[in-house]
Subunit: 255 residues, 2 copies
DNA sequence: ATACATAGTGTATTTTTTACACTAAGAAAA
DNA sequence: TTTTCTTAGTGTAAAAAATACACTATGTAT
């Protein structure tokens, strides 16, 4: 395999490491809820098709490729998404990651060394659905968003990976203002509150939420309002990136 | 490499994966401070010796070995430590992880495929120094504790790994009562406070700290006191494991 | 007997969190 | 054009948590 050169916008990869992969858990948010980006795999030259064959975008990394870069490259190759901040979450190495017949067929169709145990490192990102468009390419036939409450059985151990990442997301949102990555440039406080409620899976008091968010200092109140909504239009806010960075420290510390 | 069988108390490993390793960052605490366990490497049959050649305990994982198990096995093989809760922290994949001449010599002496980029997954544990004794074995000539403030240049990217783990430790101690893993079975509140101050690198108010810790509910006040100390003996406490588990949730949440 | 070192204790003030219900503004329907 | 519907937006009082702060207690060593 070393010798095989793969070109992409993200550099040339000389040879794929058959033992290491990355998988990307991309969260997006719109009015219907919190979603994850899933691809449908093509089974190469095989004349096989499966219904509901969904997986996280992911693939082998290069022999000398930084995993962080592999995640960026592979996400781009499979979904066209780029300029996204991907954060490493966890590395999964269960030898029985490949147990479903579908997965074995797929690996045989697409991998040069299909039978080895692959260690995969999961990356996570939060993006604003309005600002990005996912278009399938590579071995991805489709690339679509799925509500986190309605994720079907996925390839390999991808359900486990998604579950783990959701836990990490829930934990993070208590401590860091990460929600803003999922918002459009301009948003109302109700949209933001809705996001928090979706991620945490519980109701939040409106007045307390607003006081806390405005008090946090990383919101900029715009002189703009919603229009053409069948109710009182909400004032729009945007997000102060400078204050964001400095607020990534824990909010509530001993002394 | 597949075919080579490695036996250990922690199972038989059939063949080592030359692309993946684990490294263990083991924290211990005693009255002199917060320490990390480091080994000194033996250079196999080579007649080479280096001064101050220190590294984290770590090695290649098996082809079909769960990384979690590899960490447990390798820590045991190199230091004799066992029954320690190791937690995965991060995976490091920098292609220039191996840049120092010493490291290249060592890899050539000990590895079958010394030249490939190795992806390493770091594990972290907190232990009570009094309860464990580290004894070097395998390619470890020595296994000693080093104050985190005095860690010299280590092998590979191990300084980066230690730095990252310390950040994770600092963050965790704000949110979880992890400090107890580092304490002996019976401890005084001053010892615990000293630990917190060492990890966080700052002074904490004594009365507030005590109120908070006792109020947390996971301390058991013993009817025992220190003896033979040249000052008023401190009352001893132990740690309520049951309450510990349930308190692993964030302390300070929205609603 | 005294010096020394660390243990152990309480309170007032400020800040943060929580619980809670009505009015405002626009679009849509009648 | 009035009414209805839907979501936006607002304040306060009470409780809980965080903070700042200084002296007495009890043992060993001299």
């Amino acid at each position: 395999m070393p010798g095989l050169e793969i070109s992409s916008e993200y550099g040339n990869i000389v040879g794929l490491n058959p033992y290491n992969s990355v998988d990307c858990v991309i969260y997006g948010f719109d009015k219907t809820g919190l979603k994850v980006l899933l691809i449908e795999r093509s089974f190469g030259n095989l004349d096989v098709e499966f219904d509901d064959d969904l997986a996280l975008p992911g693939d082998l990394c290069g022999f000398d490729e930084l995993l962080d870069n592999a995640a960026i490259r592979i996400l781009y190759e499979l979904t066209g998404l780029k300029d996204i901040f991907l954060e490493q979450v966890h590395t999964f190495s269960n030898p029985s990651r490949v147990s479903k017949p579908k997965d074995k067929i797929w690996l045989n169709a697409i991998r040069e060394v299909p039978e080895v145990r692959v260690i995969t490192t999961a990356y996570m990102a939060l993006i604003n659905l309005e600002a990005y468009k996912a278009t399938p390419s590579g071995f991805a036939k489709k690339a679509d968003w799925h509500l986190i409450e309605e994720i079907p059985t996925l390839a390999f151990d991808h359900n486990e990976i998604v579950d783990h990442c959701i836990k990490v997301l829930r934990n993070k949102i208590y401590r860091e203002p990460i929600g803003f990555n999922l918002m459009p440039k301009k948003f109302s406080l109700s949209m933001l509150q809705n996001l928090y409620e979706r991620i945490l899976g519980k109701k939040i008091d409106k007045r307390n939420f607003r006081r806390k968010m405005i008090g946090s200092g990383f919101l900029i109140q715009l002189e703009e309002w919603q229009s053409n909504v069948a109710h009182k239009p909400a004032q729009l806010y945007s997000f102060d990136e400078n204050k964001f960075e400095s607020s990534k420290i824990p909010f509530n510390a001993i002394n």
